[in-house]
């Protein structure tokens, strides 16, 4: 072993599947002078990779997770370390059967085919050792397989070393990560100091500890996953190689069983959550097995024993089949279930690749390496972006509370709108008390409690009758209320007041402020003071990084307003654009200002009644903002709309919010104004207007032209992604975002069903639709359009198919429903000429 070098371009800390993947992919993309270090010995330094169960089910409701997993599988196959075994998720309940159908549907949307529903007898045929009487069916995915993650990691590391791009050192302990002027400068180890431009933390469950050394945060917690290996199983005595029988996931009891040589491995996510902190993890020297293999606690597994016995009595119930190995294995869990990837917002040059499981390792490494070297990754990683965390989400309390709550949902049936119960009421708007009084049903975004609908509007149900499009099926009624649609209809008739406190708000000021916002925004930002510009923010490849609103408050003063969920990532994006000479600054005002909006035909009357400022059509034009006086308050009013009606957003310092609400409320009462929840603001109002949202419609993978959002004139100033965007403008888009109506909601049982998003759009002969870039057509957003009495689906469709009136099939929970294109491109299906907004 040679001596640790004093200098490197990049130090990768960690030699698990992720660290090795990073070394390999950074080298592959042309970086040299990479130094990898690990505290433990090679090839198994003692992290989670060393005890992973190593199987891959390539199916997830998350598109991002599925894409990363598929890329990982591709790489494992390339290294020759993948064995395809097939896998079966079995259901013990009808609810689970529906969920399995939903999983197949998601898989189809993300391009994973071959899934099929099996009867208990068919499951038995594939896995003769199960008792088919305890299940009601299964879902067979033939492409499931097992990988050798240790071997893959070793191959990747050795490849980078042989290529002369990297050196690797075992048994090196990091003592400190040094930072100067907000930029990482190196790593101090027990064997010397390495100065470096980049430092990558790929240390799994130790990541928080390392990030802390640099003053950064990687909010994850080590958590126990229990498994035991029993054997030898007589039935497997002739098993060739490591694995040949399909992996079985017993979904309803949160367990899996897989043959492993002559043994059967039984794993569980059903036991009580057992959480640690990184400081709890022993060293290689003090650990009895390894630092991430804790002693098995049988009492936590007692019920699982019985469940395994029920499913596989001939093996598990065999007195001679004995426990060979059982551990409490440590894995990384995050508060929202997604990995933690990207440059830390606190320290430039310090990158996190954490909370990545075996099925995601190589794909994640490739994507993050692209991000580091090329500035962006091919696969959109926005749900995993480390910059997504708000301050309170970095607190240990939050991490532990959320993981504690979600651990048992690892194999759970998680509704797309399901809310966390733990650690709520962390961020309360000044209107919270008033909203509570009105029977608000709160959903959470970025810690903010936001009314999704108001029970006080229940009386509107009678008024609107069937126009609220009532739902009978339990699944679509869960986390939903017809009151949302009633609020929508009432807003369209009179007006609604909407709490928008969750907006992230930051001001950019200084001589270079214009240059900064110009660089970020697709749209022209060199506009008159008082203009409000809604603009996409693009990545280097011309794909979407965000969409947000920027107000020009003064020559050198811009206010960026963006959604709470994505706010922190946007803040980092803009912060990264600040010139180093200090000629522009960014100030986070999210917790300084509160926002409330009023929209509806009567919005003007309501406001005008309480202000002397002229709110008239000409005096206060759409897309402008100015300060108005409302009673004792000076209020920044901004005339824009995300719901398709006339109205304003009002910004006041947070302590004045309650006063503002009170005045608006009193005035509104005279005009039948109602409180309106985010159900309208985020879904029904938006969808009727065919407004796109970042995440569902707008992401790296799609262009501005495909989303139908190109402006007639291209701004002259440079902006990120301009070259790509110019190219996109010159080409016919491969795919075009369309708005579809569901033509018939009736299921095979005669019940009306309503899609919720992420369902595949199929041809009339039920074949998946793939564009020439290999992208599938699927429902990006779905929801009611109560004004039209329709259920809207948005979907990208290959441009040649994107013709109004064209008919398709949408697959939902295993059944097929006819749908057709209502509008191609961004034209609204409701009030296409925008008369209501411009009124």
């Amino acid at each position: 072993m040679s001596k640790l070098p004093a200098k490197a371009k990049c130090v990768v800390i960690g030699a698990g599947i992720v660290g090795n993947g990073m070394v390999y992919h950074l080298a592959k993309l042309g970086w040299k002078d990479i130094v990898q270090i690990d505290k433990g010995p090679l090839p198994n330094p003692g992290g989670s990779t060393g005890h992973a169960s190593n199987f891959i089910f390539p199916v997830d409701h998350s598109k991002e997770m599925t894409a990363i997993t598929a890329e990982s599988m591709r790489q494992y196959k390339e290294w020759g370390t993948f064995t395809q075994t097939g896998g079966i998720e079995v259901a013990r309940t009808p609810e689970r059967m529906q969920e399995l159908a939903r999983r197949i549907t998601s898989a189809k949307s993300w391009g994973i085919d071959g899934g099929q529903i099996l009867t208990p007898a068919q499951v038995k045929e594939l896995v003769p050792y199960i008792d088919e009487n305890v299940i009601v069916g299964g879902y067979y995915q033939p492409t499931v397989g097992v990988v050798d993650s240790l071997r893959t990691g070793t191959l990747m590391r050795e490849h980078a070393i042989e290529a002369g791009a990297a050196q690797s050192f075992a048994n090196i302990e990091v003592l400190d990560i040094t930072v100067e002027n907000g930029h990482v400068t190196g790593v101090v180890t027990d064997q010397g100091t390495i100065s470096a431009e980049y430092v990558v933390i790929a240390t799994g469950c130790w990541s928080p500890k390392l990030a802390e050394m640099a003053g950064a945060h990687i909010p994850l917690t080590p958590a126990v996953h229990q498994m035991k290996d029993i054997g030898p199983v007589p039935f497997f005595k002739d098993a060739k190689g490591d694995i040949e029988w399909p992996i079985v996931r017993d979904m309803d009891v949160f367990m899996y069983e897989r043959q492993h040589g002559t043994g059967l491995e039984i794993g569980s996510y059903a036991h009580r959550p057992i959480l640690y902190t990184p400081e709890d993890l022993p060293s290689n020297a003090t650990a009895a097995l390894s630092p991430t293999e804790f002693a098995f606690t049988q009492a936590d597994f007692d019920i699982q024993d019985e469940h395994a016995y029920e499913l596989m009595p001939s093996i598990v119930g065999d007195e001679n089949v004995r426990e060979k190995y059982a551990i409490n294995g440590i894995l990384s869990y995050t508060p929202d279930g997604m990995p933690i990837l990207g440059e830390t917002p606190e320290v430039k040059g310090l990158w996190s690749v954490a909370a990545v499981w075996i099925k995601e390792g190589p794909g994640t490494s490739k994507s993050v390496a692209e991000w580091m070297v090329l500035g962006d990754s091919e696969i959109d990683l926005h749900s995993s972006n480390i910059a997504r965390f708000h301050e309170h989400q970095k607190a240990e309390f939050h991490i532990k509370a959320r993981v504690d709550e979600s651990f048992n949902k690892t194999y759970g049936i998680v509704h797309p709108l399901e809310q966390y119960a733990s650690n709520r009421n962390v961020r309360l708007s000044p209107f919270y008390a008033a909203e509570k009084e009105l029977g608000a049903v709160f959903y959470e975004t970025a810690g903010w409690e936001r009314p999704f609908w108001y029970e006080s509007n229940k009386n509107l149900l009678a008024k609107f009758g069937d126009k609220v499009m009532p739902r009978t099926s339990e699944w679509e009624s869960r986390w939903w209320s017809p009151i949302i649609n009633a609020e929508h209809l009432q807003m369209r008739e009179s007006a609604g007041i909407v709490d928008l406190s969750a907006f992230a708000i930051f001001d950019i000021t200084g001589p270079s402020a214009l240059a900064v916002v110009q660089k970020a925004a697709l749209r022209q930002m060199d506009v008159a003071i008082g203009r409000v510009v809604y603009t996409p923010v693009l990545g280097p490849n011309g794909g979407f990084k965000s969409d947000l609103t920027i107000m020009r408050l003064d020559t050198q003063h811009f206010r960026v307003v963006t959604g709470g969920a994505h706010g922190m990532a946007d803040k980092k994006w803009f912060s990264d654009l600040l010139p180093t000479d200090g000629s522009a600054q960014i100030f986070d005002l999210t917790s300084s200002y509160t926002t409330v909006g009023i929209w509806g035909p009567k919005a003007r009357e309501i406001i005008q009644a309480i202000t002397k400022s002229d709110m008239g059509k000409e005096a206060f034009k759409f897309s402008t903002c100015k300060i108005i006086e409302v009673g004792p308050l000076r209020v920044l009013a901004s005339r824009i709309s995300y719901v398709g009606d006339l109205g304003w957003e009002f910004y006041v310092p947070i302590e004045q919010g309650a006063k503002l609400w009170e005045m608006l409320w009193d005035s509104g009462k005279k005009h039948e104004m109602i409180p309106v929840g985010i159900g309208v603001y985020g879904t029904t109002g938006r969808l009727e207007k065919c407004y796109r949202a970042y995440g569902p419609e707008l992401e790296t993978e799609y262009t501005v032209v495909e989303a139908g959002m190109q402006s007639p004139k291209l701004k002259e100033a440079d902006f990120i992604g301009k070259a790509a965007h110019v190219k996109h403008r010159s080409q016919t888009p491969v795919t075009t975002l369309c708005t579809l109506f569901v033509d018939d909601h009736t299921s095979s049982t005669g019940e009306k069903r309503y899609m919720m998003g992420n369902e595949p759009i199929l041809t009339l002969d039920k074949a998946p639709i793939v564009d020439s870039h290999g992208r599938r057509s699927y429902v990006t957003s779905a929801g009611s359009a109560p004004s039209l009495g329709k259920h809207i689906l948005m979907s990208y469709l290959p441009t040649e198919l994107a013709v109004a009136g064209n008919k398709f099939i949408v697959e939902y929970l295993g059944e097929h429903y006819p749908c057709s294109i209502a509008e191609v491109g961004a034209t609204s299906v409701f009030d296409a000429s925008n008369e209501r907004i411009m009124a």
Binding site: M1, P41, L42, P43, N44, L150, A170, N171, D229, G231, G261, G263, N284, A285, A288, L289, S290, K324, Y325
Partner: protein
């Protein structure tokens, strides 16, 4: 006066007893030795040389070979008669056992495996625990100290003194005292669990071997050296090798002439099972691995490269 139990096997003295005599001498009291069985009288010269002025020999018809409870009774008789300050013995299985009988007869404490003794009230000892990894500082609350001495804490040193006076006595045995004794012996191997225990060479693998396949190389090397394969606990708990091959506190304790530890970091319970090997060679990527502290020789490197290279080099050397 301090009594030191001299353990012997049909008049062949256990060398550890000489270490016990040496240690006892340092406590500043007159030393008298005890040997159980009439054939113990032959030890007068050697115990004398190591500092015992007298050798008490317990002779009784019932004591024909090792009879541990009878030893305890004989020691008790001497204690009753001569009131020594301490009764000591080597911390060997036999030493511990016989003194435990004495302590049980007297219902007084016993401190096993002591590395240091300070007589007093209470007596103070340092004793080894956790397979020698921990040292306990303890008080012994008893007028008479019954203690055994950590086998290797003291080297035997001759006192260059003369032959001890032999004082033969007949202990007042009760019938129960001699029920358990060596009835017969044979020099062959036991039928149980001795494959590892008997091997002169053991090539042992740990987590670093990476998986069951990696043991092929170790087997080849072991064959070549006329030895057998062992492994660490993590290997058996991972199901890579059978439990019977596990070396350690929870497996088999071994003391071969040559112990090659490959890819074993050295968990305490493994060390406990192999540290008495004559020569220990470590092959490990980690120069800081705890096992190196117990090794005579080490190669810092990847066993997957070193073992095959070693195998072929040995082949060559053997011609």
């Amino acid at each position: 006066m301090i009594l030191v139990l001299i353990d012997h096997d049909q008049s062949e003295i256990d060398p550890l007893s000489l270490r016990a005599l040496t240690a006892a001498r340092k406590l500043g009291h007159e030393i008298e030795a005890v040997a159980i069985g009439s054939d113990g009288a032959q030890l007068a010269a050697i115990v004398g040389e190591y500092g015992a002025t007298k050798l008490h020999v317990a002779a009784h018809d019932a004591i024909t070979d090792y009879t541990p409870m009878a030893s305890g009774r004989a020691l008790k008789d001497l204690v009753d008669k001569f009131k020594p300050v301490a009764v000591l013995a080597a911390g060997s299985p036999r030493g511990n056992e016989q003194l435990a009988h004495l302590a049980a007869f007297l219902d007084i404490p016993m401190a096993a495996e002591c590395s240091e003794i300070t007589l007093g009230s209470p007596h103070h000892v340092l004793r080894a625990r956790w397979a020698g990894n921990l040292i306990e500082s303890a008080h012994v609350h008893s007028e008479l100290l019954v203690a055994t001495l950590l086998s290797f804490s003291v080297e035997a040193e001759s006192a260059n003194s003369g032959v001890a006076i032999v004082l033969t006595f007949e202990p007042a045995l009760e019938p129960a005292d001699s029920i358990v004794k060596v009835l017969s012996r044979d020099s062959g191997q036991s039928k149980a669990g001795l494959t590892l225990s008997d091997a002169k060479v053991i090539v042992s693998g740990g987590r670093g071997v990476g998986g069951p396949d990696g043991f092929g190389n170790l087997e080849e090397l072991a064959d070549l050296l006329g030895g057998t394969v062992g492994c660490s606990r993590v290997v058996t708990s991972s199901g890579w090798r059978p439990h019977a091959e596990q070396v350690g506190q929870t497996g088999t304790k071994v003391a071969p002439d040559l112990y090659i530890a490959a890819g074993i970091s050295g968990a305490m319970q493994h060390i406990a099972g192999m540290k008495n090997s004559k020569t220990i060679v470590v092959i490990n990527t980690d120069p800081e691995a705890p096992i190196l502290r117990y090794a005579d020789y080490a190669i810092i490197g990847d066993l997957h490269q070193v073992i095959p290279a070693l195998t072929s080099a040995i082949r060559q050397a053997k011609g």
